[in-house]
Amino acid sequence: MIVVHIPDAFIPLPQAAVYWIIALIFIALALRWARAEMREEKVPLVAVLAAGIFAIQAVNVPIPWGTSGHMMGAALAAVVLGSPFAAVFVLTLVLIVQGVLFGDGGITVMGANIINMGVVGGFVGYYSYQGLNRVFKNPYPSAFVAAWFSLLVAALVCAVEMAIAGTFPLGLGLFSMGLYHAVIGVIEGAITAAALYLIFTARPDLISTSEGVTA
């Protein structure tokens, strides 16, 4: 499902620099969160978790019309770790490795990709989960909708960035990427909800009851 990796050259350098600055602000806030909420000593734990998310993103998921996709995982990380900054932190590490080692994403556009997947994916996933969980009083449908919505909004933001760059028309971008991700987001939502169920059943202590999943 990760088709929101914008490659190098699809955003002009000045715009890419602006996205980098915005991303760096969120990365600094994520580091501050890690120091304050997780204690600085626990940062290695998040680093190892980022490696796990990298592996999770490698899991091939069948999409009904014959193709395959991968999870974004931002909502899952944000919900389980109880903060949208967790998603920013984890996804930043993942995107650096994907961009530099695999060329998936890019160097100049990494700021934009961090915004789309880490910031938008994490914040939309976390806060929509929080809001929905208050309404549904059930974490699993809340996680399902939150993960679906986070993927959809991340894709729409990606379409807007490319329209601003002049490399993809806004209307077509919003329609095609929105429609595609609205459909495959259902799979992201289903896997997030089921994975959350497994995590909550096997290791309920991993999840903060005040901020994360509450059964």
């Binding site: 734990l45 680093a47 190892v48 080692l101 998936d104």
Partner: protein
Amino acid sequence: MIEDLFFIEKQTYRKSPLHDLDARAKIILSFAAIIAMVAVPYSPLVFPVGGTFFLLFVILWGLSRLSPLVYAGRILMVLPFGLFIIIVQVFVQNPYYPAFTAIADLPFGIHVYRESVEFATILLVKFLVCISFIVLLSSTTRVQDLLEGAGRLGLPAEFTLTLGMMIRYIFVFGYIYRKVNESLAARCFSPFDSRLPYRYRLRTLAYTVGTLFIRSYEQGERTFMAMLCRGYGRESHLYIRKKPMGRGDYLFLATCLPVVICTPVIAWLLSSGLV
């Protein structure tokens, strides 16, 4: 993607003049080439600049003694999304041209424009050059050397430590991922087997994702405890030994960097008629 990690790392253990260079020299050149290529405006100026950069890349790839098939395989891995955007370009107008000339009319009111074809080619050239230098960097530099090189170039200590930890465990999770896949295959499970109910396949994959998450968290806890036992604390950082760049590294940069810096400038001067 994680399956390719071992293949990529294997390439970095080969011997060649390029493999022997300091990671810093390769990072500087690759990043400079990418930034310079992206900085060139969306105009036909991209063609001579991209051509020169690609020639430089071909020479360097030749020096690395890696097979062209390795390059082709790596490019194919990351091509789909970029290629999709590039192909769509030929059917749409963009803000970089004042007027568009239709060269082919297709059903449903779709047109192919001459300017859009040119723009798509510009994007393709830029995209290929950028990807090529990343492939060159990651195929000739070990992950640990990349990290140490980035640290020596000034990457903040917080990042070298966390990235170092992450990189180390990516390989661990690469093995775990492989084992999980093997155990699923041993039970005749394939996520793409349409004879199995779709919900069942999704549930199995979701539990795989959840298991990977729990295993990574538990590994993180164990690592954290082990690091505490070794005296890890708030002020700890990844130790990176100071290492001066060698004469060969400076020679490499002195030869290649002027090409990367001067080519766009000369092309711009020539195209604007200033020279």
